[in-house]
Structures are given as structure tokens and as C-alpha cells.
């Protein structure tokens, strides 16, 4: 029984980690951290509503994710997008709160959807995670070069016949989709942490984009595996170790450059 739960959480965690590593690579390079924080929160009211009204969770999450991606990508870059993301984010959280407040195990559901229950992933969750997570990662890999080109310079993409706004929408939609899948495992809040931490370290490790992408996936997997191990050893939530791992991965390359700065 315990071994069974442990296995499905292990598989779910690995899929989520691989997907977050792929998506996060572009989140970090495109400087889309805030959008990457706001978009997963679309899945919070979506799954709450699905639960409350007996809707199909995947369909509801998809609808909310697409709406979120369309809203944020329509606004463009800069301060205006930040403000729009912030307002979108509080609206989604408040909506999720309303839906959840209609339910019985209110506190438990809130905690689960926001912070995730990596050790409590059920086989039913696993199907959703595997299906959507692998689909999102594959789509990102398929559009790897246009994404990279428009990340490098949107104008270069335009000249090559790649519309940057379409690429941007596609990217945000995939990001939202990926995080809907990750939600039951790492929660709406920490899905994001798993995306940015490993990718921020990976970009320092390799100069080649494909190698850095692979490193991002590898570091993300290590983070989740480490978090699962520590979590089952201490009984503390895996989210804690995912967040701490992200911080450590971000600071590690900086510490090296800080040392060389001192030596110089």
C-alpha cells in the first residue's frame, strides 16, 4: 500500500520535473517569471470548480489556462503586463477560494491545490499528469527553434516568417497547460518554483542551448527526487524541499561568480 503510493508519486514527480525543466528553460530565457507564476494559478479555480460542479477537470483546466494565456499575451510586455498579471492572479485566487468555500473539506482542498501533495498522488491523478505533462513537453520541444529565435530577438523571428505574438501565446498556453498537469503533485504555487530554479542554474552550465535544456531537465529531476527522499525521511512537505532546492540552484552559480569577483 505504502509502496504503491510511493511509486505513483515517484512517477508523477519525475514527469512533472521533466516537463518543468523543459518549460522552465524558456521561462527563464524569456524573462517570463511573473507570467509563469500567475498562469498556474488559473488551474486553482479550474480544478476547484470542476470538483464542485462535477465538471471534467482536464477540460475545465484547459479552458481556464487558455483564457489566462490569451489575457496575458494580449497585454504585451513590461509594466502593463505585470499589473495585468497581478490582477489576474488575485482574481483567480479569489475565485478558487469562493468555489472551495462551498465544499466540505475546505482547508484540506485549499492546501492540496496550492501546495500540492506529492506523496499523495493517486493513480487517477497520474493519468492526467502523464498525459498532459508529456504532451506539453513534446509541443515545447517541437517548437524549440522558433521559440529560441523569438527569444533571441522578436524582430529576427518576424523576418524569418515566425510571428512572435503567436509564439508568445503558444508558449504561455503550453506553460498554463503544463502547470495544470503539475497542480495535483506540486500545487499551483510551487509548480513555478520547479520551473525557474533548475533552469536558472542550467543556463550557466552549458553554452549550447540543447545541452542547457538537457541540464535543466536533469537538475529538475534531481530536485524532485531529492525532495521526495527528504520528505519521506522527515515527514515534512516535499514542497519545502522543492522551494529550497530552487533557491540553492539559483544561488550556486552566483556564489561562484561572487568568489571570482572577490579574487579579482
Amino acid at each position: 500500500m505504502i509502496a504503491g503510493i510511493f511509486t505513483s508519486s515517484w512517477i508523477a514527480g519525475s514527469i512533472v520535473a521533466a516537463m518543468a525543466g523543459v518549460v522552465g528553460f524558456f521561462v527563464v530565457l524569456r524573462g517570463a517569471s511573473f507570467a509563469a507564476h500567475a498562469l498556474p494559478l488559473c488551474a486553482f479555480p479550474a480544478l476547484a470548480a470542476a470538483h464542485l460542479f462535477g465538471l471534467d477537470p482536464l477540460g475545465t483546466a484547459l479552458a481556464f489556462a487558455l483564457a489566462g494565456a490569451a489575457t496575458i499575451s494580449a497585454i504585451g510586455q513590461g509594466t502593463r503586463r505585470d499589473i495585468a498579471s497581478a490582477i489576474w492572479l488575485v482574481l483567480m485566487l479569489a475565485l478558487g477560494e469562493l468555489f472551495l468555500s462551498r465544499m466540505h473539506s475546505y482547508a484540506r482542498a485549499v492546501y492540496g491545490l496550492l501546495f500540492g501533495q506529492l506523496l499523495g498522488v493517486t493513480p487517477a491523478d497520474l493519468h492526467l499528469i502523464a498525459g498532459v505533462g508529456i504532451l506539453a513537453a513534446l509541443l515545447i520541444l517541437l517548437t524549440f527553434r522558433p521559440l529560441l529565435l523569438s527569444t533571441l530577438a522578436p524582430e529576427l523571428a518576424v523576418a524569418a516568417g515566425v510571428p512572435p505574438r503567436l509564439v508568445e501565446f503558444l508558449f504561455l498556453a503550453l506553460l498554463a497547460l503544463a502547470s495544470s498537469a503539475a497542480l495535483p503533485a506540486v500545487g499551483a504555487l510551487l509548480c513555478f518554483s520547479l520551473m525557474v530554479g533548475p533552469a536558472s542554474a542550467a543556463r550557466h552550465l552549458f553554452d549550447r542551448p540543447t545541452a542547457a535544456l538537457a541540464a535543466s531537465v536533469a537538475l529538475s529531476l534531481l530536485t524532485v527526487w531529492g525532495a521526495l527522499l527528504l520528505s519521506s525521511a522527515t515527514g515534512w512537505p516535499a514542497s519545502l524541499f522543492v522551494g529550497a532546492g530552487g533557491l540553492a540552484l539559483y544561488l550556486a552559480p552566483r556564489a561562484r561568480s561572487f568568489r571570482s569577483l572577490v579574487r579579482a
Binding site: V28, R30, G31, S33, F34, A36, H37, G78, T79, D82, I83, S85, A86, I87, L89, V90, L91, L93, A94, L95, E97, L98, S101, R102, Y106, A107, V110, Y111, L114, F115, G187, L189, L190, F192, S193, L194, V196, G197, S200, W236, P237, S239, L240, F241, V242, G243, A244, G246, L247, Y250, R254
Partner: protein
């Protein structure tokens, strides 16, 4: 009228406490929000708000009041954001995200530890989404102190903070000490986060900071005016939301809507209504829609 304001709204003790604390929170958060948005720190304010969840969850574990917990944790996160040097906007956003992730990890820990405490059921929801109608008379003094402190600091440093937000180089040339101004701004922001967290919960406290300020900035170009407009909108949204939450108890036969949901929705309705109305008005007048 009796439908709009259900009987006993203003006479009820919990409602009075909620109106006072919510009012202070609304004004402080809205006023701090304006320079925060001008500096492009919507994400940072959101991160501080979410990280303060950990403080709110830690407070009962170490026996301090919730406001202290919120403010201390937000201060720790804000200090970290200021301490690590970053080169540009994308890097700052990345650092903000990383600190946010680490803080939320802590929040997950403290919340899960808190659930095992006796009589702590509902504490999770209280920290995350607030329980404004459960505030007691002993919550008023800390709230008033924090609110007063934040407002005094803000008024004293208002001009340098606004100038530094609008144009850091110009501010430096005019003799503004950027680090000091930044620290004061951060202190006010964390106090605002704490107060807002008492009202609508840590996870939603950004709403009180960002939404009224965003509306005000869209409505008026003058910084001084936008502070007043933001404070007015914040108060209107918060008190209106509290009223709706109170009324909803009657409308829904005892299954009231969460107060923080009502407040956030009221603020967002004000935002979209006013900014949408304004651009419609500009459009009808034939002028250029501001981009």
C-alpha cells in the same frame, strides 16, 4: 436600503473591527501601491504577499500575533530581494520568483506543522485567505500602530520615494539617497502587506496593493492625485466588499461568500469598470486611446 445594508451591519462588534482594520489596510496598501507600481514592482509586491503566508503560519507556532508574523516574513523576503544584486528586469523577476518559491516552501511546512496543533483547524484558510470577521478588539492596537507608522513614514518620504520611482537617475542627481528611500519604501510595503494579509489573507493581499493603485494610475496622470484616488478606491472596494460579504449571509441563507473574495472582486470590478469606462469615453470622444 434595507436590502443593501442588512440589519445590524454597523452595530455588530466584529463588523466594526473588520471595517476599522480593513479601512487602515486599504488606505496604507493603496498609497504604497502607487510608487510600487511606478517602479514596476508589481511582481515583488505579489511575492512579498505570498511569502508572508509563511509568517502567518509560523506566528501561532512561536506564539506571536499574526501581523508580526506577516510583516517579519515579508521583511525577510524583501531584504533578500534588495541584497542580491541583479542586472536587469528579467533577472530581478527571476530572483523574485526564486525567493517566492523558497518562501512558499516554508509556508507549506509551517502550515502542515500548524494543522497538527490542537484547535488549529481552519488556520490554513485563515492565513491564506483571511478571516476578517474574526478579528477581535485586541487586533485593533497593532493594526492602528502599524498603519500609523506606515503612513507617517510614507508621508515623510513621499517625494523622494515618488521621484526615485519615476526616475532613479534624476533622483540621485537631486540628492535623494536611493538606498535609504528604497529601504523606507520596502518597510512601508511590508507593513502594507501585513495589514492587507489581516484583511484578505496573505495570498490575496496583493489585491489591496496593486488593484486600486493600478486603477488610480490609469485614471490620473498626477502622482499626488493618484495617491488620493487610490486610497479612495481601496476604501470603497474594501468596505463595499465587507458589506457584500455581510449581506451575502442573508442572501444565501447562511452560506456566506468569503469576505476576501468579496473585497477582491469589488476592487477588480472597480478597476475594470473605471478603466474600461475611461477608454470607452476616450474612444467616443474620438481621441487616441492611451496605450
Amino acid at each position: 436600503m434595507s436590502f443593501l445594508i442588512q440589519s445590524g451591519f454597523l452595530q455588530s462588534g466584529p463588523v466594526q473591527h473588520a471595517l476599522i482594520v480593513g479601512g487602515i489596510a486599504a488606505v496604507v496598501a493603496a498609497v504604497v501601491g502607487v510608487p510600487t507600481l511606478i517602479r514596476g514592482q508589481a511582481f515583488a509586491s505579489d511575492a512579498l504577499a505570498h511569502v508572508s503566508t509563511a509568517g502567518g503560519a509560523l506566528a501561532p507556532l512561536i506564539g506571536v500575533n499574526a501581523l508580526t508574523g506577516f510583516v517579519l516574513m515579508a521583511l525577510a523576503a524583501g531584504g533578500m530581494l534588495e541584497a542580491v544584486p541583479v542586472r536587469d528586469r528579467a533577472e530581478r523577476d527571476l530572483l523574485t520568483g526564486i525567493v517566492l518559491g523558497a518562501g512558499l516552501g516554508l509556508a507549506a511546512l509551517f502550515l502542515s506543522l500548524g494543522v497538527t496543533l490542537p484547535g488549529a483547524s481552519g488556520a490554513t484558510v485563515g492565513v491564506l485567505f483571511g478571516s476578517v470577521f474574526l478579528l477581535g478588539a485586541d487586533d485593533l492596537v497593532p493594526a492602528l500602530t502599524a498603519g500609523g507608522l506606515a503612513l507617517v513614514l510614507l508621508m515623510a518620504f513621499l517625494r523622494p520615494i515618488l521621484l526615485a520611482a519615476l526616475d532613479p537617475d534624476l533622483a540621485r542627481v537631486s540628492g535623494v539617497r536611493l538606498r535609504l528611500t528604497g529601504a523606507v519604501h520596502l518597510a512601508c510595503l511590508t507593513l502594507a502587506v501585513g495589514l492587507a494579509a489581516m484583511t484578505v489573507g496573505a495570498i490575496l493581499s496583493t489585491a489591496l496593493i496593486v488593484t486600486p493603485a493600478a486603477t488610480a494610475i490609469a485614471l490620473t496622470a498626477r502622482p499626488g492625485q493618484s495617491l488620493l484616488v487610490a486610497a479612495g478606491l481601496g476604501l470603497a472596494g474594501t468596505w463595499g466588499g465587507l458589506l457584500i460579504a455581510y449581506d451575502s449571509y442573508v442572501w444565501t441563507n447562511g452560506h456566506a461568500w468569503p469576505a476576501s473574495f468579496c473585497i477582491v472582486t469589488a476592487l477588480c470590478v472597480l478597476h475594470f469598470g473605471l478603466t474600461g469606462g475611461l477608454s470607452l469615453l476616450r474612444h467616443l470622444r474620438g481621441g487616441k486611446v492611451r496605450r
